[in-house]
Structures are given as structure tokens and as C-alpha cells.
Amino acid sequence: MSALISTRTALALLVLGLLATFPLWGSAYFVGRVFSPALFFGIAALSLVLLAGYGGMVSLAQMTIFGLAGYGYGVLTVTHGQPWWVGILGGLAAATLAAFLFGLVAVRTQGIYFLMITLALGMVVYALANQNRSVFGGHTGILGIRAPELGGHLLTERALFYEVCLVTAVLSYLGVRYLLRTPFGLALQAVRDNPRRLAALGYHVALHRLAAFTLAGFLAAVGGLLGVWYNGAISPTAIDVTRLINVLVIAVIGGLASVEGAFLGALAFILVTNFASSFTERFNTVIGLTFLAIVLFSPEGLSGLAARPVEVLRRWRGRRWRASDTLDVRQAVGRQDE
């Protein structure tokens, strides 16, 4: 008689159960200040993992799109006094459109060029937000942004907000996992591995990349809405170069090609920033050094670190585990010198 559910599913359900009931037994600080932001930053990192790990496109503009969703929501609800649902739809639409436009510019390039162009795009949007008063509110940005209300409860009440973040994160996670198994997802990974061969097979490489970039942009925008509710305001600092890089740090810490890693990385990142900042002012140095160590020594990040013992064991048995071939970031994110 076969088991009703596999160990894997049981484990996943257990983790999900623990996470769902976390506000009941976890400390208020961890629920509100650690896990909630880890979930929405995790969604932003997930969009990068989808692009970098599975599409071979290391984008540094994901936080810009995240921020633009916040700006969209803020402009519509605060500046124009629209109801929250208009803000949500408008914010998502504006950020996804921006992602589509960025994609149009960037997908023609590859590898290192892609990284540079998305970084430049992100920095240009930051400069625009900083200079422009009429729409972006200049240096101060937009203050007093209110989250939607759900049955008389403001969405930013601690436990409620956490649950909303959790549900959104789980849906995003499952969505990405599903997407990667669809024909489109497989084609995307093939584009990462060998764009020329895919083109020869009749696939439109640039179109696949553009679609992936826009989709990832939508994902980042969803995270961005949660982020702007959490902060209650948005300013150019939310999309400055440090933030753009932070999401890359999160994704690399978690493992650039690991869907779960996006959330693990976000959690690790927030724990380090919160706790390192209580005993040293130089927590950015701590983060930078952690990032460097991971890039240099464990390119698969924390999730790779967890897989290491397994790999060592298999090697010791004399059977070379295939996944060990991808221990190199460059290979994990696609060959660059095609």
C-alpha cells in the first residue's frame, strides 16, 4: 500500500503549517520586522532568480520595478485620491509596463551587457525620481501611503499583513515553479543554455526573453505593493543603487538558481542587517563580505551549501552527481561567451 502523500509533500506542508501559524507562536518582532519583509523582498528576489537562474539574465533593475509599483500606488491613492483597488491595478500596470519597456531595451544584449544596461536603467530611474517633483515628489517622494482595508482591518496590522505576504509569496513561489515546467519555462531555460541552437530550432529568442522579463517585472511589482504598504511611504532611496544591488545580494546568498533560495536569502539578509546593525555600524561591510565569500567560494549560495554534503557523499561513492557541474555561477546563469 503506497503512502497517501510523499515525504517531500509532508515536509512542505509542515513548513507551510508552521509558517501559517507563525503569528500565533512567534514573537511580534519576528513576525512584523523580520518575516514579513523577508517575504516581500523574497518575492523581488524570486523575480531575479527566475531571470538570472533560469533565463540567464542577471537584471539589476528588479528593485526599480519593485519601487515603481510603489510609486504607482502612491501617486494614484495619495496624489490623485483614488481608492486602493485603483492603486493596486495602476501600480501593477505601471510597473509591468516599465518592465516591458526595460525589456525591449535590454533583451537584445546578453550576459554582462545585460547586467550593465539594467543597472544603468535602474540608476536613470532613480535620478528621474530624485529630480522630478510633479509626479515622483522629488527627494521626499510620496508620504502617507495607506494600505487597503480588509473587512475593517487595515492590511498593515501585523498578523494580517504577515498572512497576506505569506499567501502572496506562496502563490508566487508555486507560480514560478509551475512556469518553469511549462513549455515556455523549458524554452526559457534552453535560451539560457544555448540561444543560438534555440534560434536555429525556430524559437524567437528575444521574444522569450522579453516575455520572461515582463513576467518577472509583474512579480517584482507584486512585491513592491506589499513593500510600499509596509513602509507607508516611498522615496528615491527605495530605488537607489544600494537597493538595486541588495536584491542581487539576496538572490546570490540564497542561490541564484534556487527558487526557495530567494526567500532563504531574504531571511538571511534581513537577519544580518537587523542583528549586525545592533552590534556594529558597519553592517554593510558584513553584508558585502558575506556576498563576496559566497560569490567566491559557494556560487550556489545557502541552498548550494546545503547540497554540498550530499554532493561530497556521492563523489566519495565514485558516482559523479550531475548537479555538481553547475556549481559555477557562470554556468548556473548561462554561458556568456556564446
Binding site: 544584449t109 554582462i112 543597472l119 544603468a120 536613470v124 517633483r133 567566491l296 557562470r330 561567451d337
Partner: protein, 289 residues
């Protein structure tokens, strides 16, 4: 726009272009030769600026400050290349990630050392104050004219170096085909180290030269990194002429749009980049990948 305003804005654009050229030329040559995108290039600029300021402040000599900035940045660049980049040579994306990590740490350590203050330089008397320009009939700071001249000299020297000397010919050959140059017996590793140190020295020197025209403060690293990125994306990677033309284009467009419609100036440089990428993805002077 009045005539005087037009001339001033144009001159501002030209001197800014000179500064962009000084910063970006090291960035593009390093990329051309080694395929390393040094995202810590802005940090080297800022580091040079801070060190130069400290030395100039202690010794009272601006020139000593500038030389110290170049030397210290060269050493820092060399250390970065030898210690962190050489072990992972050839993996361009990983190298870029490493330089990002370095820039995070560097920005934080420099903030710890020099704080969030703004530092200003006082260049030698011979190049400070204003000058009345003949023909154009307006007054303009001498120092900014000095930057323009200095960048021209550096550009010309680099062009002579690359086209007329044995070292330059080797470098150009290595940009075209590293493996072949290595196969004919050139020590490519030494060439890489030299180029990295040289590019870093130029960035550090630009820190003092540029910092004297504007100022040095934390955050400038990102600004000059962006300028370098846009200049090399537009000009084409690894091209000296491309860097010069793109510096001019970017700086002039930036200054004119700042004068005409200040709040949308950022959009204009974005559009410039988009336009170039749409027409020539490899940049104006770049070769197809």
C-alpha cells in the same frame, strides 16, 4: 537661452565630458582587454578623491594629493585584480559580482573613514580663479578649462601609446585576440595587471581632478559608475574613440537638458542610451559581439 548662457552651458558640457572621459576610459580599456566589468570603478574614483584630499590637506600641495590619489588607486586596483579577480579569471559574470561586493564594502569603509561630509579641494593658484575668454567674451573658471586641457592631453597620450608604441600594439592585439597574443609569447597576465593598475590610477586621479571641480562626498562613486556605464554602453566597449565621442555626447546632452528642462534631464540620457542601443546594440564604435 541667451548667447552667454548657451556658451556657458556648452563649456560646462565640454568640461564635464572631459571628466567623464577621464573616468570612463580606464573602465572601457579594462573591459576591452580583460572582459572584466569593474563595477567598483566608481569606488576607485571616490577612494582616489578622499586619499587625494587627505594628502593635499596634510601637505598643502594639490599636486601631491593628485599623485597620491593615482598611486593609491593603482595599488587598490592591482590588489583587487590579483587577489580577487585572477582566481576566477574568464568567468565574466562572477567577476562582475565580485566587483559589486567590493564596491559595497568599499563604500561602507570609506563612509566609516571619511564620514558623510563634503570635501572641497583648493587647486594651485595658477589654475584657480576665473579667466575672460577671448572671442566668446565671457568669464569662465580657469580650473574647468584646465580639466578640458588635461583630458585632451590624457586622450592624446593614450592614443599615441595605443597606436605608436610596442606596448600599445600588444594591448590592441590582446583586445582583438587574447589567446593568440598569449600564444606568441606575450605575458598576458602582466599586461592585465598593468592595465588594471593603469585604469584604476586614472580613476583615482579623476577623483582629485573631478573632485576639485565639483566636490567629493559619499555617493559620488555611484554617480561616476553610472556615467562610466552610460558612456561605454553608448561608445562601445573597449574603444578609445568611442569613449571620447560618447563622453561628449552624454555630457553635452546632460547639460543642455538640465538647462532646458531640469526635471526630465535623467529621461534624456535614458533616451539617448535607448536610441543608440536600438540602432547599434554594440555601441557607436563597438564591434559586433
Amino acid at each position: 537661452m541667451s548667447w552667454n548662457q548657451f556658451v556657458t552651458v556648452t563649456l560646462n558640457g565640454l568640461t564635464l565630458a572631459a571628466l567623464y572621459f577621464l573616468v570612463a576610459v580606464g573602465f572601457t580599456l579594462i573591459f576591452g582587454l580583460m572582459r572584466v566589468v569593474n563595477l567598483a570603478h566608481g569606488s576607485l574614483y571616490l577612494f582616489g578623491g578622499y586619499v587625494g584630499w587627505t594628502v593635499a590637506d596634510r601637505t598643502g600641495s594639490w599636486i601631491l594629493g593628485a599623485l597620491a590619489a593615482a598611486a593609491v588607486a593603482a595599488v587598490a586596483g592591482l590588489a583587487l585584480q590579483q587577489a580577487l579577480l585572477r582566481p576566477i579569471q574568464g568567468q565574466d559574470l562572477r567577476e562582475a559580482l565580485v566587483t559589486i561586493g567590493v564596491s559595497i564594502v568599499a563604500a561602507d569603509l570609506m563612509l566609516a573613514q571619511w564620514g558623510g561630509f563634503t570635501y572641497g579641494f583648493s587647486p594651485p593658484a595658477a589654475i584657480s580663479g576665473g579667466a575672460r575668454l577671448p572671442v566668446l567674451g565671457i568669464g569662465y573658471p580657469k580650473y574647468r578649462l584646465f580639466i578640458l586641457g588635461f583630458a585632451l592631453v590624457v586622450g592624446l597620450a593614450l592614443w599615441l601609446l595605443l597606436t605608436r608604441t610596442r606596448l600599445g600594439i600588444t594591448i590592441r592585439a590582446a583586445i582583438d585576440d587574447r589567446d593568440m597574443v598569449s600564444a606568441v609569447g606575450v605575458n598576458v597576465q602582466r599586461l592585465f595587471a598593468l592595465m588594471f593598475a593603469f585604469g584604476a590610477a586614472l580613476a583615482g586621479l579623476a577623483g582629485v581632478v573631478g573632485g576639485s571641480a565639483l566636490s567629493i562626498a559619499s555617493g559620488e562613486d555611484a554617480r561616476y559608475l553610472l556615467a562610466s556605464l552610460i558612456v561605454v554602453i553608448i561608445g562601445g566597449m573597449g574603444s578609445l574613440a568611442g569613449t571620447a565621442v560618447a563622453s561628449l555626447l552624454v555630457a553635452l546632452v546632460e547639460q543642455y537638458s538640465l538647462a532646458l528642462f531640469p526635471t526630465y534631464a535623467a529621461i534624456v540620457s535614458f533616451l539617448l542610451m535607448v536610441l543608440v542601443l536600438a540602432l547599434r546594440p554594440q555601441g557607436l564604435f563597438g564591434r559586433p559581439a
